[in-house]
């Protein structure tokens, strides 16, 4: 992830392995070269939707890097919380195609355990022996941030010692893509957040997981610390099922700053929700201005969705990973595909080229359909 982030190399391209003849928009950001057989034996694979596959691989990578072992007492003091917008969409799509289009007389017996939204955290728990709080979080495009934020709160409160948390999504199926097409907010060309000429969002897929533990505990065991989550803010617009509100977005950012004990002036970078839709980008810009006042002029704000697409329920986790990587390597990831400034979006979006800079404190925004907002604050850990 480091090289594409730093080089501003976008993963958006023509969709592969999905029927596109009925689709108006035929681009997306798919996980390249993912081979399930390389990760799972055939017996286990039969139980796993692509969404759970992504979640398991991401959790395995994250946990392997920590060296933690949950087989003993720690397992009952550990949590696994995974955000996802729709869970096993591929399984559902395939099942319904068989029944309604192909005239099948029966459903596959593993349809339900594959498609359920909570399959991903369950499989992570089974694989690693995590026996404390384990559940899925669904808040559309804010799911991952809500999942990570809840895990952060549980660790901070001492409810659990360790939490693996993140998001997973694999909804680039024909049925799901057609449903997104019908919303008329998908860009046919590419994702250009905050740029003049932007035509909407580009869907992505994937998963990212982080392992959270108390700072003292992590330091005591000599863990490789990637960064510190210092605050979490949530809000609900309580207004519209698709249109975002300035007040809701601003309220979540304010709540996050207050939770972290941060002054607005301490924030260097915001990884924006930045979907590339006309409405989101204007509203988010106005909300940032409202919360940060004059400091908004000095803030760097970029949308890495221009690189990895909009992975819906996994977006917040992938964006947290992007933010942590950028923090550790002293650069600010760019907003790619930026052509010209939009007069209604007037912040520093770090267009097209990464910038060498140290990020001490960052926010990562997720503002979902249904007006569900979740913001994380991250501090550089030296």
């Amino acid at each position: 992830m480091l090289a594409p982030l730093r080089e501003g190399r976008s993963a958006i391209g023509p969709l592969a392995n999905v029927q596109t003849d009925k689709l108006a928009v035929t681009i997306g950001a798919q996980v390249p070269g993912f081979n399930p057989e390389a990760h799972f034996d055939s017996r286990k694979l039969a139980l796993l939707d692509r969404c759970a596959q992504f979640a398991l691989v991401a959790a395995q990578e994250a946990l392997a890097a920590t060296g933690l072992d949950f087989r003993g007492e720690l397992g009952s003091r550990a949590a696994a919380i995974v955000g996802s917008g729709v869970g096993g969409m591929g399984t559902l799509d395939d099942s319904f195609r068989r029944l309604y289009a192909d005239g099948a007389k029966r459903s596959h017996p593993l349809t339900i355990p594959r498609l359920m939204l909570s399959a991903a955290p369950s499989h992570i728990a089974m694989q690693h022996g995590i026996r404390g709080p384990v559940f899925a979080v669904a808040s559309a495009c804010a799911s991952a941030n809500h999942a990570i934020g809840l895990a952060f709160q549980m660790v901070r409160a001492g409810n659990v010692e360790v939490a693996v948390a993140g998001g997973a999504e694999a909804a680039l199926t024909e049925g799901a893509l057609m449903a997104w097409d019908a919303m008329r907010i998908m860009a046919p060309d590419t994702c250009r957040p905050f740029s003049l000429g932007r035509k909407g969002l580009v869907l992505g897929e994937g998963a990212a997981m982080v392992v959270l533990e108390n700072m003292d505990r992590a330091k005591a065991r000599g863990a490789a610390i990637l960064g510190e989550i210092v605050g979490f803010g949530m809000s609900s617009d309580a207004s519209d099922i698709v249109l975002p509100s300035l007040e809701g977005a601003a309220s979540a950012m304010r709540a996050c700053l207050a939770d972290a004990g941060l002054a607005p002036e301490e924030v260097d970078y915001i990884n924006a929700h930045g979907t590339g839709t006309a409405v989101n980008d204007i509203t988010e810009t106005q909300a940032v201005r409202e919360v940060f006042g004059r400091h908004a002029e000095r803030l760097a704000v970029s949308s890495t969705k221009s690189l990895h697409g909009h992975a819906l329920g996994a977006a917040g986790a992938i964006e947290l990973a992007a933010t942590l990587i950028a923090m550790r390597h002293d650069f600010i990831p760019p907003t790619a595909n930026f052509t010209a400034p939009d007069p209604r979006c007037d912040l520093d979006y770090v267009p097209n080229q990464a910038r060498e800079a140290q990020i001490q404190v960052a926010l990562s925004n997720s503002f979902a359909f249904g007006g569900l907002n979740a913001v994380l604050a991250i501090r550089h850990e030296k």
Binding site: M183, R184, M186, R198, K199, I241, V242, T277, A278
Partner: protein
């Protein structure tokens, strides 16, 4: 344009706006019908289904001030008529 197209388009828009079709004409501005963005998506969908045509409608562009299409009921009628005639042309050749 046939009277059928005019009548069907008015019926679709009236149903979505929850108004009496008799009160709609070519010059009625969609804005005055209090159609929010999701309502317009449903109008576009209903028109596509009714006439078996595809409308390249992007809500992002529709929100921009310079966007001209679909300001009035007549704009929708004209769009449908144009697409229906091009479909007929294709069939005949």
């Amino acid at each position: 344009m046939t009277a059928d197209v005019e009548r069907d388009v008015i019926a679709i828009i009236a149903q979505q706006a929850k108004v009496d079709p008799a009160g709609l004409s070519r010059t009625t501005e969609l804005e005055t019908l209090d159609l929010v963005s999701l309502d317009m998506l449903e109008v576009v969908f209903d028109v596509e289904e009714k006439f078996d045509i595809s409308i390249a409608y992007n809500a992002n562009e529709a929100l921009s001030p310079e966007h001209k299409s679909f300001k009035t009921v007549g704009d929708v009628m004209d769009f449908v008529a144009t697409h229906l005639s091009s479909k007929i042309t294709v069939t005949q050749t």
